[in-house]
Symmetry: D2
Subunit: 357 residues, 4 copies
């Protein structure tokens, strides 16, 4: 709860955007997993801002330090702690907004909930926290790789422009994780325009989990799909999620039901989940991101004393949060799947005997 | 986990559609709450199928028996157990599908996950389980009423036809909880047509939480919105959720940000949640239901031995699950809010002193 | 939390001693376990009071009704709900103590904590609740039997008289679960004397878990021993617990350390637990019960209005709660072990591959 | 679970004795608490070994670094992360025991549970981990101080020699936290003798919680006493616990029941807990520590290949772990009480209205 996620594969994050460090403790990682530190760094690098003009120019230093849980390159079953120290803090960029609630940000709600707020950037509500999630996700992916389970994601819509084709391979090398090379061009134009206009754009991420065994997901309240929903909506700027065909609510039962043959399901409107349990098809979902709230145009707001003010932000920000959000969505999905794998191991007497006999 | 939901206000449900009973234990209910058993019955009645032609004709007997936790009309702080015995079981209706996986249902995944399945109806995956949720939600609502917090929901879209106006008052007396009297007519036509054609329809429920205090929701992984997402997607047939303006991903930051004045927010695109915390505006969300999987047309499938078969269902089913789903969505939202209220009480030293000094 | 115990094998109890029913939902039971209802009844029968003069004469009706989770004699992986309806309520026995706090009972603390109290008997704090635990323990034992894990317990001390020999087989047929036939005679005398004098006695239960695999228990805060401690001290009237040789704190390291040979440990002072993890030896512990608080001599107390009063109890009560407590201790231990077995399955990559490859 | 403790005030520790660092994330700390970093350091200093000859001479560097959750001297409601980097590692001291299971240690069980083990010192099972608990306890104590709740502990028995008087004030300045100045002399003699003989001693810690409000503790499975039991037995080397008069199991009901007058309870055999809930008297308990397993005499054991070996330890170790254990017991008790305070706030409608109306 609060700052933890997962039941067995369970991680807990900490840290503010402009504090000393952010980090994560990953508990419940099985012993005997080869720990791939290079992969950890490369995953953090995918999320890291400042790489190109499609992301915030604030240069975060995402060098992870693994403080525990790994011994001679292998996990030991004890908690893995990963810390990323903050270096490029530039607190002064934020001093003009010390007492002001930025529209679209969590300033207002943190202030009222806690009566105190780290006003330097987003504090705890900053997207910087998602680096800690990506670190957890990297460890989850190390586990999934051993079982050939793969998670892929990319951008399927930006600024209302929808991809026509879906190519997860293409996305891997796209600077904006675009799933469609045609749409990519229009998206880049739209992003450049938004940046010039000091504005920002919303977008949609599409995510796929491949090679999942049948049977993952715990009815009734820890289903594969409702926990994926929880995971995704917990990401900054995510406002919605859809599992499977995102038009399902417009269809009839006859259109939407996936018929079954000897060789498997004949369609995948359900997105690989039936009754909250994976059915062996690809798990597919879409994640809806609002536009970055940090824009550089005057906006009406109030300060902590109740005075009306005009907010004028400065600084460097993503014009589109969905792009980096794609990496975070992958990480969260990986953590959910790891957790579901572990839980499912305890759900059949047959499995229990397999281990203890 | 598994069959429990919530951290402090925490309920656990049990029961199969054609077993002896379904029920719920509600733990974490504070002592000293007037227990309104009539209200409990009326809430169950709103969800109950068989009331009119827009819902399944299977007559469920939803008479709740309160076995514990209430003494002389007041809650005592001990767990409240509510059981609903199954009476109208008609097991024979289902015998023809004993070894067959019905498309769109959880038969396939339960069988593969557990290696065994209560084949009489949906068993645990039946919508019948949602009666237990409505019972829990009724108790949550008893708490919320004392704080003037109100939860309302209704249908905003059926079969691709969208409401033009939203009137929560109207929905309360509509046989299909329609939020719009104009759309209601078209929806009823569409439902009647679907039933005649032995088909079913998807739909969208809109839900509003009024008078919520500022500050509910626990960052980072137990936010108000991601737990609402988890709650909603855990409901049978729900495939998606959206918090606030469901077009946010198509907007620019300038369009989407909600500016603030002395008198509050000037718009509510965020749906009353910023950074996962309630901001004092109405919390608003949409819930996307797939069409009822039980349709009465021949469908391709396989049996548990791997043989290809034609499925021909008989019986009585909702042509549109979203209608009754509206009541379940309210119940789940009420449980989430109660939980968030309790958690928030422990988040400020000021509150702690208020209780203990 | 509150009324639940366990992480994966997790049960939740409800019910008051003089309410309609008590019961338990057992969640996390794997599918494919033969459900032995006769065994469930026999376990409840062992705990049931009124069997002989060594236990309270209040005749409880402990007929369990299994409402869910079992289909055609097998567990299905869904929650198992077991309800025991209260029949022999005799509320009038308790009317004289409606407004009075009985010394040694929870009347005082429930009243102050909740501001309301079911004054008919102990309500929720009654030992009657332990029947629900025994039901959960019976299900846990069904799982353990499949792995040849056995849990035995008996009385090792009553009224300060200590057993000289320990014979778990003898205890099984002793009316007071005595571990020592010699001590049994003295204990029976002491119990008869206490009853005549309207007084009660404390005692100590000794418990053994046999055939446990090495490796159960999760460091650091969900160790086998600290969760056993939590389980035992949660039982009514238990005030203490000791794992292994209960003189360990008086020994030197040289005396207390258990040396190891090729054939296993050369002694078992540690009680089968090292670093919180089972080491393959018998797990052994002692559980310390205070004397039954219900005695039939005048005692000083106050009423809910703050007036000083003399309490004079009537009714039928155990002169020694440790005897039946022995059965409850077994049940709780069984639940802990089932939970630890399940958790341990997820702690090694080797196990994970065994299931998924 | 695993490496976390508590429900609302919840901490998670990480780190191995000879890894890079140990640390703790403390989640659930309310906002608006003055964070007393000096106090944190002083608490760690009380536990720190190497201070005098009664503790291990290994000099641990217990300088805590607060990485998050505190802003301008106040807690913000976000997770507080505290890291202590390991400096004085001296790995070579331990190389001779790389493949050997030290009797009384967790080497054997970690190896078998995980199939891998950080053989440098105790790794995760080292008492070094308790520094992280003391850090968490220091934060809990900061909260308790605001409510005048005080936790005190000291040594009441060493090597079988029992204190005759109990003086918590005296213990505060005793180098061995002795509760009795007379016994202290004998204990120091016994400790010196044990050290000379390369042996070690067990002991008993007595702990008191003062000024606790009535009503803390959540029946039935999260009682004040069973969670204290869990907390205490989770501490390295603790084998038992007793709440209240540790002779209760030898008494009769008449002797053991605490009668009540207008001015409170007339005795405190129950140790301040009735039915698992605090009754307003001092909460008192005893914690039983086995002797330090690290002794410097030859012992029989086996290595990881199954060969029988003679273990000859070198190095510097506590001859008596109970002394420093006293500080850890205080810390754990403080964390339990903070958690219980928060949970209790949600248990009465009256409290809920106090916050929200």
């Amino acid at each position: 709860m609060f700052n933890s996620f997962g039941e067995i594969f369970r991680f807990t994050t900490f840290g503010e955007s402009h504090g000393k460090a952010i980090g994560v403790i990953i508990d419940g990682v099985p012993a005997g997993l080869k720990f791939d530190e290079e992969f950890l760094v490369s995953e953090l690098d995918r999320r890291r801002p400042g790489k190109n003009r499609f992301a915030t120019q604030r240069k975060e230093s995402d060098t992870p330090e693994v403080l525990s849980g790994v011994f001679e390159g292998m996990t030991t079953g004890t908690p893995i702690s990963i810390v990323i120290f903050n270096k490029d803090q530039k607190s002064k960029d934020y001093s003009n907004i010390k007492d002001i609630f930025r529209p679209g940000h969590a300033d207002f709600t943190y202030w009222h909930k806690y009566g105190i707020r780290d006003y330097r950037g987003g504090g705890r509500s900053s997207a910087r926290e998602t680096a800690a999630r990506v670190a957890a996700g990297a460890v989850a992916k190390m586990i999934l790789r051993e079982l050939d389970i793969e998670i892929e994601a990319g951008v399927v819509e930006i600024g209302g422009i929808r991809a026509e084709n879906i190519d997860y391979e293409y996305a891997k090398n796209s600077p904006i994780f675009a799933l469609d090379s045609e749409a990519e061009k229009k998206w880049i134009e739209a992003i450049d325009k938004a940046r010039e206009e000091h504005n920002s754009l919303g977008g949609v991420v599409k995510l796929r989990i491949k090679n999942l065994p049948v049977g993952l997901g715990e009815p009734i309240y820890y289903k594969l799909d409702n926990i994926l929903a929880s995971a995704m909506v917990s990401i900054n700027a995510v406002k919605g999620i859809y599992i499977g065909n995102s038009e399902a609510h417009k269809l009839t039962g006859l259109e939407n039901n996936d018929e079954i043959s000897k060789d498997g399901f004949l369609s995948n409107n359900c997105g690989g989940v039936l009754g909250g349990i994976s059915n062996g098809e690809d798990v597919e979902l879409e994640v809806f991101f609002k536009p970055t709230p940090s824009i550089f145009k005057p906006q009406k707001s109030v300060d902590i004393y109740g005075n009306e003010v005009e907010v004028n932000l400065k600084g460097r920000h993503d014009p589109i949060v969905a792009v980096r959000g794609s990496v975070v969505a992958e990480a969260m999905a990986a953590c959910v799947v790891a957790d579901m794998l572990f839980l499912n191991m305890t759900r059949k007497m047959e499995y229990i005997k397999k281990i203890y006999q």
